[in-house]
């Protein structure tokens, strides 16, 4: 029965309300509060940044994808257009992807279902995936957002995610413009699983955020709309209009399975919000302390 509750329309409604930051925060002294305090947060100052890619860049990315025998079609890249200025308020983002240990606290406190694979199997039975400091995988978008709200945070908007990954100067990758290597990210199946978060300090952003490329895809708050960049507002854009709870959500950053072209920080990808995978996880954002 408990399982049904989590997949009921009531649950989705609650989640959607929380996702709009209308309610939900962790009570001081609660387990959720403790988890929030354990998370290492990185401050991202307010400001303007160039989001998306130019037509020339997209042409070049698409050509490279073809040379890499990728099945990615042109529309995937076109969704990065038009490149435009976006203004974000300051916020904090978790330095690392949310870990199994952190998510375990959430499951124990809320009786939320444990992470599961595509066929419903328990991901935590898999020793290659269940270590405390590996990122949690096998969670739906709703699981991820529920965790975020439990600790008084949120999933990052797509704009927040891209700003953090590309930095102030719009780098191609979190660490700069150099291509990914074995020392910058967990990608292309070199490891046959996720790895402990923060394993690749060389791949950190200039502001010190880890694993923004590879390891796991990261759920973002936004519903996926390939044309969103053309219509979105300049200030703190997030695509939550006419939200359908079955609408694809944005995922970003590539994973341990995926190759180099998926590591690029401006690449937009989508995933069905009720699906789970062993390479999709998340990180969280919160408003800065003095604004909470």
């Amino acid at each position: 029965m408990r399982h049904l509750v989590y997949f009921s329309p009531v649950f989705y409604l609650i989640t959607v309300i929380c996702a709009n930051n209308l309610v939900c925060s962790a009570e001081v002294g609660s387990v959720a509060y403790q988890v929030n305090q354990q998370i290492e947060w990185v401050q991202i100052p307010s400001g303007k940044f160039l989001m998306g890619s130019t037509a020339e860049e997209i042409e070049s990315f698409y050509k490279e994808a073809q040379l890499r025998s990728s099945t990615l079609d042109r529309h995937t890249f076109e969704a990065e257009r038009p490149q435009r200025w976006v203004v974000l308020s300051n916020f904090e983002i978790s330095k690392y992807e949310i870990t199994n240990a952190q998510y375990r606290s959430f499951v124990e406190a809320t009786h939320r279902p444990i992470p599961r694979g595509r066929k419903g199997e328990s991901v935590w039975q898999d020793e290659s995936m269940n270590q405390n400091h590996q990122p949690v995988v096998g969670i739906t978008w709703y699981d991820a957002q529920a965790f975020a709200e439990w600790i008084g945070a949120s999933l990052p908007s797509e704009a927040q995610w891209e700003r953090v990954a590309r930095g102030e100067y719009g780098f191609r990758y979190p660490w700069g413009n150099a291509p990914p290597t074995r020392t910058s990210a967990n990608f292309a199946r070199r490891h046959q699983s996720t790895v402990t978060v923060g394993t690749y300090p060389e791949g950190d952003t200039a502001e010190g955020v880890s694993d923004m490329a590879g390891n796991v895809w990261e759920w973002c708050l936004d519903a996926y709309d390939p044309h969103f960049y053309a219509t979105s507002k300049e200030q703190n854009p997030v695509n939550q209009h006419d939200r359908n709870f079955l609408e694809d959500r944005v995922i970003r950053g590539g994973s341990w399975i995926y190759g180099r072209i998926f590591m690029r920080s401006a690449l937009r990808f989508k995933f069905y919000p009720l699906s789970t995978a062993n390479d999709v996880g998340f990180r969280v954002v919160r408003q800065v302390a003095n604004e909470r």
């Binding site: 490279e64 040379l67 890499r68 025998s69 990728s70 291509p179 990914p180 290597t181 074995r182 990608f187 292309a188 199946r189 070199r190 490891h191 046959q192 399975i257 995926y258 190759g259 180099r260 072209i261």
Partner: protein, 545 residues
């Protein structure tokens, strides 16, 4: 005309005529097959049924079987699959200094199996290189008798194998002084049970995924003329891979030869030598199992070489059409990054279907270039994709201080292309540069003589070991001239279905004296030579301690 206008004229003329002045108006390579008297045409028994094995071969080996100081040539031949012909046999050509003379009958090496590849090494340590031939069916070990003849020693050596074998390589993998043998096996295959595949209603060759992969085999040399299959005991057993190319090379510079295998549509395997006769497969964690897209390519040919002159050995793999080839750069500890796209090798290699390949310094400027033999497997590929052809260009990539540029045009390669499978490199005329031997599928062998390399300074080193591994296979040699140190390893096998010249060829550009030569022999012993003259074939004998 005043003096300054004269300078202008001179400068302009120099620019116009530079190619002629610089290179003597020659192309880089010249087809000398007919001049050398080699009349060999491969027979694949092409059939409307389009059976898998028709697409695969063949190759051959360069060896100095009569120890007269120049390279002879052994060529693997296919046959008529259901009705083998006695005149379709592997052939041995003796290099008499000017021409290659067919000595197959005299030498008794005319096996009539449906051959794939060949390698040559002195497995019994008697100083004469032997031959190992991979076949569809029974592989053959020919022992060199030292008198111009060979004996089929397959049974005597307990090395019989009846699988579909492809590339092979000898190396002292257990460091006991003699040469062990690694044999790639492709798929479970029975001719009369081949799978039919179609494009629409058109019969085409099937892809590898229609066939089950099988494990390669590692034979330990027992030191008494026999071998033992130690595949499982040594940790080599991989029951689903489809091995096509192999190179035995010390990727982590620990003095122990490792094994890197190019597999078709399964992950490439890197077996790291543990030093106790066993290996651990570490291709994934070391970054050379997949390309940097995490994809298992249709890998065919393979080589290792120090393309960036940093002292470690990098890995190079050729792949199927619509897959870039793959250059994996060594970090010095045997961990790799795929930098194919960053070094200029991806886009030009995307369309061709690549097989045999080698690192070689074709112009002897001190940097290892790359040659790639291409040719589609489908004779009718243009009916499926009009952009593709059966015969394809041989490709040459010039290495500019670690970045590659394709210079195929003007090299002297046939504009009509080739259907290359095996590709051998070696200096058959001992003039100091590396020549090319192209083994085509169902077409004649082509020999391309290097016309420009010897214009630069060079050094060729032939190692003679004091032990049973007489050619010093697995030894590593570093040659220093001024600021530049080049490193080469004595390799057996490599490329695809081929055995190459095991002498080490170093381009020295303008340097006429080599400051230092450092040799790490395969048994771990070191030897150093200083102030060595260039433009010679230097034979270095190991001083046994």
């Amino acid at each position: 005309m005043n003096a300054s206008s004269g300078k202008v004229w001179f400068s302009t003329a120099a620019l116009i005529f530079y190619p002629l002045i610089c290179c003597g108006a020659t192309t880089y390579f010249r087809d000398v097959t007919a001049d050398l008297g080699i009349d060999f045409k491969h027979e694949n028994d092409f059939s409307p049924e389009r059976r898998l094995v028709e697409t695969m071969g063949a190759g051959g080996a360069l060896l100095d079987y009569d120890q007269d100081g120049d390279l002879d040539l052994y060529l693997a031949q296919g046959n008529i699959l259901n009705n083998p012909r006695s005149d379709l046999q592997n052939r041995l050509f003796r290099n008499d200094g000017h021409r290659f003379i067919d000595v197959t009958e005299t030498a008794k090496v005319g096996n009539t199996g449906y051959a794939m590849g060949a390698v040559s090494a002195d497995y019994n340590g008697d100083g004469f290189p032997d031959l190992y031939i991979t076949n569809l069916g029974n592989n053959i070990l020919y022992k060199n008798n030292g008198d111009g003849t060979f004996t089929d020693a397959t049974k005597m050596a307990s090395i019989e194998s009846h699988l579909l074998s492809t590339s092979a390589a000898f190396g002292d993998l257990d460091l006991d002084g003699d040469l062990d043998l690694y044999v790639c096996n492709y798929v479970e295959y029975e001719l009369d049970k081949d799978v039919p595949c179609y494009f629409g209603r058109m019969r085409i060759y099937c892809g590898p995924n229609q066939y089950h992969g099988i494990s390669d085999i590692l034979y330990r040399n027992n030191g008494n003329g026999t071998f033992t299959d130690i595949t499982k005991a040594a940790g080599i057993f991989e029951p689903t891979t489809r091995g096509l190319g192999v190179v035995l090379t010390d990727v982590n510079s620990d003095g122990l030869p490792d094994i890197y295998v190019a597999n078709d549509m399964t992950h490439n395997t890197l077996f790291i030598n543990q030093g106790d006769g066993t290996f651990k497969e570490e291709g994934r964690i070391r970054g050379c199992a997949y390309n940097d897209d995490g994809i298992s390519n249709g890998s065919m040919g393979v080589d290792s070489g120090d393309y960036d002159n940093d002292g470690d050995l990098d890995l190079w793999v050729t792949n199927f059409s619509e897959e870039a080839n793959c250059l994996m750069v060594n970090n010095g500890q045997g961990y790799f990054d795929d930098l194919t796209f960053d070094l200029g090798l991806a886009e030009p290699s995307f369309q061709p279907l690549a097989f045999g390949t080698r690192f070689l310094d074709y112009d002897n400027n001190g940097w290892s270039d790359l040659v790639i033999g291409n040719g589609h497997i489908m004779d009718n590929v243009n009916l499926i994709n009009q952009l593709m052809t059966y015969a394809q260009s041989l490709q040459l990539f010039h290495n500019h201080n670690g970045v590659f540029e394709e210079i195929t045009n003007g090299t002297g390669f046939s504009p009509g292309g080739y259907v290359v499978r095996g590709l051998m490199t070696g200096d058959y005329d001992n003039d100091g540069d590396v020549d090319l031997f192209l083994c085509q599928s169902n077409r004649p062998l082509v020999v391309l003589r290097n016309e420009i390399g010897s214009k630069s300074s060079w050094l060729t080193i032939k190692l003679v070991s004091g032990g049973a591994n007489t050619a010093g296979i697995g030894s590593k040699v570093s040659v220093t001239t001024g600021e530049l140190t080049q490193t080469r390893e004595v390799l057996n096998g490599a490329s695809y279905l081929s055995g190459n010249d095991m002498r080490l060829s170093f381009g020295l550009s303008k340097a006429e004296v080599i400051d230092k030569i450092e040799i790490r022999w395969s048994n771990g012993q070191f030897q150093t030579l200083t102030d060595v003259a260039s433009r010679q074939i230097l034979v270095v004998y190991q001083k046994m301690e």
